[in-house]
C-alpha cells in the first residue's frame, strides 16, 4: 500500500474517532460522565435510514430522501434522541446529585436500552443499506487511487471541527460551555443555566453522532445493532488518552487513536497485528497512571477525584 493511501486511510479513521471522542468529550466536560450511549446514538442514526422491520431486507425509509433532507433528518433524529436521553435518564440523576460511578452505570444502561430497542425492532441480523452511492467511487489523487468517502470524511470532520472552534470561541453559548467545562459551579454562580448548557452539549453530541452515522454507513453499508460499540470504545479510549475534560485533548486523542490504529495495522508484521488493539486499550491504563490529565490536554485541566 502506498504512503498516500495509507495516510488517507489513517486520517479517515482518525477523523471518525475524533468525532466520537468530541461527542464524548463535550458531555464529559459539562457533566463529568463518559456517555457510552454516544456510540448507540450513531447506531440509531444509521437504523433511522431504513424502515423498522424484523425482515432481513430493510427497504430504505429516510435513506430514500434526497441528500440534504436526508442529512438534516438524521441529524435531527440523533440530536433529538440525545436530548431525550438527557431529559429522562441523566437529568433525574443529576437532580439527585448522583455520583460519578452511578452516572457511569446509567450511561451504560442507556446504551444497552437503545441497543435492546433496536434489537427488538430490527432483530440481530445485520442489514445492508446504501446511501450516497457516489461516494464509494475511487478518485485519482496524485497518481494514487483513494476512496472518495475517505476524503469526504476527512473534509467533513475538518469543517465540523472548525465550526466547533468558532462556536466555542465566538458564540456566547460556546464560551459559556467552555466556562462550564472548566468550573461548572462557578459558571452557575454567574448565571449560566445548568440544564440549558447540558442539554446543548447533548444536542451537539447527538448531531455529531448523526453525521458520523452517515459517514460510517456510506462507507460500510452495513447495519448491526452492535455497530456503535467499537466506536464508543474508540471514543472513550481517545478521550481518556487525549485528556478528559479537555475538548482539544479528546479530539486529538481520537485522531491519534485512529491514525495509530491504521498505521500499526499496515506496518506491523502479521504476527503482531492482533496485539495492536490490546496495546492501544492498554494505553488507557498507562495514561491514567502516568499522566491522568491526558497526553494532549491543555494546561487547565483538573481532575475530579
Amino acid at each position: 500500500m502506498n504512503a498516500i493511501q495509507l495516510m488517507i486511510d489513517a486520517l479517515s479513521l482518525g477523523s471518525q474517532y475524533a468525532l466520537v471522542a468530541l461527542g464524548i468529550g463535550l458531555i464529559f466536560g459539562v457533566m463529568r460522565m463518559i456517555n457510552f450511549a454516544q456510540g448507540d446514538l450513531i447506531m440509531l442514526g444509521a437504523y433511522a435510514l431504513v424502515v423498522p422491520t424484523t425482515a432481513d431486507l430493510a427497504p430504505p425509509l429516510i435513506g430514500k430522501l434526497p441528500a440534504v433532507a436526508l442529512i438534516i433528518t438524521v441529524i435531527t433524529i440523533t440530536a433529538g434522541a440525545g436530548i431525550v436521553t438527557e431529559r429522562f435518564a441523566f437529568r433525574p440523576l443529576r437532580r439527585r446529585e448522583a455520583d460519578g460511578a452511578t452516572l457511569l452505570i446509567s450511561s451504560f444502561a442507556v446504551g444497552y436500552l437503545l441497543q435492546s430497542i433496536v434489537l427488538f425492532v430490527h432483530t440481530g441480523r445485520p442489514k445492508s443499506v446504501s446511501i450516497f452511492a457516489d461516494l464509494t467511487r475511487q478518485l485519482e489523487l496524485g497518481g494514487v487511487r483513494v476512496a472518495m468517502i475517505d476524503i469526504v470524511t476527512i473534509c467533513v470532520t475538518a469543517l465540523l471541527l472548525t465550526a466547533m472552534v468558532v462556536f466555542l470561541r465566538r458564540l456566547r453559548w460556546g464560551i459559556e460551555m467552555r466556562a462550564a467545562t472548566e468550573d461548572f459551579t462557578m459558571a452557575r454562580i454567574l448565571g449560566v443555566r445548568a440544564d440549558a448548557v447540558i442539554a446543548l452539549a447533548f444536542a451537539i453530541a447527538g448531531a455529531l453522532a448523526g453525521i458520523l452515522s452517515l459517514l460510517y454507513v456510506a462507507k460500510t453499508g452495513v447495519l448491526d445493532f452492535r455497530m456503535g460499540v467499537p466506536l464508543a470504545i474508540a471514543g472513550f479510549v481517545g478521550t481518556v488518552i487525549g485528556g478528559m475534560g479537555s475538548l482539544v485533548g479528546a479530539v486529538l486523542g481520537g485522531l491519534f487513536l485512529g491514525v495509530a490504529s491504521s498505521l500499526l495495522q499496515a506496518l506491523l508484521p502479521e504476527v503482531l497485528r492482533p496485539g495492536r488493539d490490546a496495546f492501544l486499550y492498554g494505553l488507557v491504563i498507562f495514561v491514567l497512571l502516568v499522566r491522568p490529565q491526558g497526553l494532549f490536554a491543555g494546561r487547565n485541566v483538573g481532575e475530579r477525584t
Partner: protein
C-alpha cells in the same frame, strides 16, 4: 462492644439456609425449566457475590470483572475440555495441557487462580488510581483481555466457539459453589481487610491518617473478588458446555452489574437479592416470550422484550432507588446509628 467482637455469621448464616430451602422446593416441584433457571441464577450469584466483594467494600464500580471470568473459563477448558479433540480446537496449547485431563474441581480452582494472577497484575496499576479512574481502568482491562483472547486463536479458537466442556453444573453443584461464594464474602467482610477497605470507602482521609495502606487493601479486595468471580465464569462455561469469547463481554458485564445494583451495591444481601430478583424477572419474561395458552388464547410477548425490561429496570432503580432493593441493609445486622 461485644457485638463488634463476635465473629459474624450473618448475613451468610441467614442467606444460605434460605437458598437451600428455595432449591429444595424447586427441585421437589419437578419442573425442569425452572430448575434450570435456578441453576443458572446460582451460577450468576457466584459472579455477583464475587463482584460485590470488591464493589460493596471498596465503593469502586468495576466494569472489568468479566475479564476474570473469561480467563478462568478458558483456563478450565484448557484442562478439561473435549478430551481427545483438544489439540484440534486449540493447537497452540502446551503439550502437557493437551495430554492431561484434570478433574473438574482442581481444574476450576487452578483456573480461578490464573484469573486471580491476572487481577493481581492489573491491580498493580488499578489500585493506585482514584475511584473513577479505577473504574475506567477496569473497563479498559476488559477490552484488553477480550481483544487478546479473541485474537489468540491457537489457544482459544478465536472468535469461534469451543464445544465439549464437561457439563458438571447441576442444581446442587451450583448451590454448593454459591454457598462457598457467600461464605467467602462473609469471611472477607468480617476480616480486618474487609473492615479496612470499608473504612477507605467511608472516610478516605481518616483511613489513610489511621495508617491504612489504600492500594494494598484495594488489591486484596480485588484479588479475592476476582477469584470468586472467575469461579462463577468457570461454572457458567461448564453449565453451557460451550465457550465463546463473546459470551464474556458486554452482555454479561451489564447483567451482573445490573443484578448487583438492583439488589443493592453496598451489601452481600443486596448481591444475593438482586441476582434472585433479576433472574426471576428474566424467567418470567422468558416464559412470556415462549408464550402460553390460557383458555384458547395465546399470550406472548415478542423476542427481545427481556433486554428492554432489564435496561429500563436498571435505569428506574438508578433514578428512584439508587441504593437498590435492600439499600444499606444487611440481613441480620442492625443498621448503623
Amino acid at each position: 462492644m461485644k457485638r463488634f467482637l463476635e465473629p459474624r455469621i450473618l448475613p451468610a448464616g441467614g442467606l444460605i439456609p434460605m437458598l437451600v430451602l428455595v432449591c429444595v422446593i424447586v427441585h421437589a416441584a419437578g419442573n425442569q425449566l425452572i430448575e434450570g433457571s435456578l441453576t443458572e441464577a446460582l451460577v450468576y450469584m457466584v459472579m455477583v457475590v464475587g463482584l460485590s466483594i470488591f464493589v460493596s467494600n471498596s465503593g469502586i464500580i468495576s466494569f472489568g470483572h468479566v475479564s476474570f471470568a473469561l480467563v478462568g473459563a478458558y483456563a478450565s477448558a484448557w484442562q478439561t475440555c473435549c478430551p481427545g479433540l483438544r489439540g484440534v480446537f486449540m493447537p497452540g496449547l502446551p503439550q502437557i495441557l493437551l495430554d492431561t485431563n484434570v478433574p473438574v474441581m482442581p481444574a476450576a480452582l487452578a483456573a480461578a487462580l490464573l484469573a486471580t494472577a491476572v487481577a493481581a497484575v492489573a491491580g498493580i496499576a488499578i489500585t493506585r488510581l482514584n475511584a473513577v479512574a479505577a473504574s475506567i481502568a477496569l473497563l479498559s482491562l476488559l477490552f484488553v483481555v477480550k481483544t487478546i483472547y479473541e485474537n489468540w486463536t491457537s489457544v482459544t479458537a478465536g472468535q469461534g466457539s469451543l464445544a465439549g466442556l464437561p457439563l458438571y453444573v447441576g442444581l446442587w453443584t451450583a448451590l454448593a459453589w454459591a454457598t462457598g461464594a457467600i461464605i467467602a464474602a462473609q469471611l472477607y467482610m468480617n476480616s480486618a481487610h474487609g473492615l479496612r477497605l470499608r473504612a477507605i470507602r467511608e472516610e478516605y482521609a481518616a483511613a489513610r491518617a489511621a495508617g491504612i495502606v489504600v492500594w494494598r487493601e484495594r488489591m486484596i479486595g480485588l484479588v479475592v473478588s476476582a477469584f470468586v468471580f472467575a469461579i462463577g465464569g468457570i461454572l457458567f462455561g461448564h453449565y453451557l458446555g460451550t465457550l465463546a469469547v463473546s459470551i464474556y463481554w458486554l452482555d454479561m458485564t451489564f447483567l451482573t452489574l445490573a443484578m448487583l445494583v438492583v439488589g443493592g451495591m453496598r451489601s452481600l444481601t443486596g448481591a444475593v437479592t438482586g441476582t434472585l430478583a433479576v433472574s426471576a424477572v428474566r424467567e418470567f419474561l422468558r416464559a412470556f416470550e415462549r408464550g402460553f395458552t390460557v383458555s384458547g388464547n395465546t399470550i406472548q410477548i415478542p423476542q427481545g422484550s427481556q433486554e428492554i425490561v432489564l435496561a429500563l429496570a436498571l435505569l428506574l432503580i438508578l433514578v428512584f432507588r439508587p441504593q437498590g432493593i435492600v439499600g444499606d441493609y444487611e440481613l441480620g445486622v442492625p443498621p448503623p446509628r
